[in-house]
Amino acid sequence: MLNKYDYLYNGEESLLILINPVIKLFGLFIYILLILLKFDRLLFIINIGLVFLLILLSNVKLTKYLKIIWKLKYLIILLYAYLYYKNLEIVEINIIIFKLIFLLMYIWVIIYTTNKEELSRGLSIILNKINLIGIPIKKITMFFINVYSFIEYFIDTYNEYINKIEREGKVFLDSNIFNKLVIFFKNFKIIWQISYRKLNLRKKDLKYRLFDTKEVSKYKYRRRLCLFDYLYVLINIGMIVYYILKVR
């Protein structure tokens, strides 16, 4: 069964919650840029170290991040084998795998420490910069919120459906990976349809305001940039400047 909080906002009180989501996404962009550019040992260590620091500051257990990596172990092994087949050196392969693993962990740090509304807002602000068609920013935000909500409903429906078929006599959780994949793909369509139905009901609720507006949000996000935002931006720009001056 899938644990919803392995894939969604965790709500833990931490320093990273205070950082603006646009700044977090900017940091992610810089990280992706640096892993694609020319390799430098010091920059690599600083990059990896920064991600590790963010993981510690997120106040979410390290085992959660490692669980995500563990679930992708077969893909990582395949990638390792492919790169080895392409005659890359072991050191280079290890560096590439490390970069990808830490990229995944960086993405999950952002997901675990950013509420869905704020993450969607951050993504829509960034996309609005390249919005040539003129789509209203609210619509872009709602699109991302719907995607996030759909993932939540999908996981809930998946868990409910698997429980139901287990009670009807199909052994899923205690079977091998091939049986699990077969059962999953056989029932994927119905789980998708039910999740989509729940999403449509949610849209209806929002349209007619059928939800409880008195619910207090746990998210302590500050609209103005704070010291940590500037520090974060400074570190990322510092890495780019270092790359331009010393590495390139």
């Binding site: 069964m1 644990n3 965790n10 409910e160 459906y161 287990e166 009670r167 006599g169 199909k170």
Partner: protein
């Protein structure tokens, strides 16, 4: 099958802000061939633990000789699940494109139950729950929630398990249907030696049929007592008092000498005989 819950913990997302405690150090024994009532919120986890759909965070579930722990391996899960049946309501039933007949057939096939005359067996299973054979060809989507519950109970009865677990089964049933199912559960217990676990928040459904009542509040087992508990005040700190009991207590406070009944017909007779 005797069921023992031994120092059982079931906690999701432990030590996080999303922590959810289903069971917290629960110790109890469910005797073979008895009807027990569980009163509390979020208790469908009990059925999931007994069927080994979910593993406990700590502690163990003992089913005769089989022990289910967090990391224990079960050789043949299906053999265990053949002996247990769960009837839970679910929102996703309305999206299923199946008929009642195909659902019954699929359940019996999954559990390896092969009767000599499959159609007769399906009709008999439906009759036991008060549905006629016209329901065989009806689609699941077209059933009401009470009809769906009855069909699920028929599916469970079709493969003849030793333990039947029902969650909020009484919700939506009319008085006549409630009495019918209470008699049915008594018959299943007395004649066929089945163990029946009723998970409910409505105590009036448990009157006269239940052997033991377990009340679980915030994961803790707060009350574990037999059927004489219904007139004790300690029970009503955790659950709503049924009308018959609140009426009797009120009448006793007003100096009317009424005995403590849980059967409404007996209470009416008593009132007719004694109250001026």
């Amino acid at each position: 099958m005797e069921i023992i819950l031994n120092q059982l913990y079931c906690i999701d997302n432990k030590k996080t802000s999303m922590e959810k405690k289903y069971l917290d150090d629960v110790n109890l024994v469910i005797n073979k061939g008895s009807i027990v009532g569980f009163v509390g919120e979020n208790l469908r986890i009990i059925g999931d633990l007994i069927m080994a759909i979910k593993r406990p965070s700590k502690g163990e579930v003992k089913l005769d000789s089989l022990i289910i722990k967090r990391t224990s391996h079960i050789d043949n899960v299906l053999n265990l699940r053949k002996k247990v049946g769960c009837v839970y309501s679910s929102n996703i039933d309305i999206a299923i494109d199946e008929t009642v007949k195909s659902l019954l057939k699929k359940t019996m096939k999954n559990y390896g139950y092969k009767p000599s005359n499959i159609t007769k067996h399906m009709v008999d299973s439906l009759k036991i729950v008060g549905l006629d054979d016209s329901f065989l060809n009806r689609e699941i989507k077209t059933l009401s929630s009470t009809e769906m519950k009855k069909v699920k109970l028929a599916c469970v009865i079709s493969y003849n398990p030793e333990v039947i677990i029902l969650e909020n089964f009484e919700k939506g049933l009319i008085y006549r249907e409630r009495e019918y199912f209470r008699k049915l559960f008594l018959k299943l217990k007395n004649k066929f030696k089945k163990t029946i676990i009723l998970i409910t928040t409505d105590l009036s459904f448990l009157f006269e049929i239940v052997d033991k009542v377990f009340v679980i509040n915030n994961g803790k087992l707060v009350i574990s007592d037999d059927k004489d508990i219904f007139y004790e005040d300690k029970l009503y700190k955790y659950v709503e008092m049924p009308n018959i009991i609140s009426f009797t207590k009120y009448a006793q406070q007003e100096d009317h000498h009424i005995s403590e009944y849980t059967d409404i017909k007996e209470l009416i007779k008593e009132l007719y005989r004694n109250v001026k």
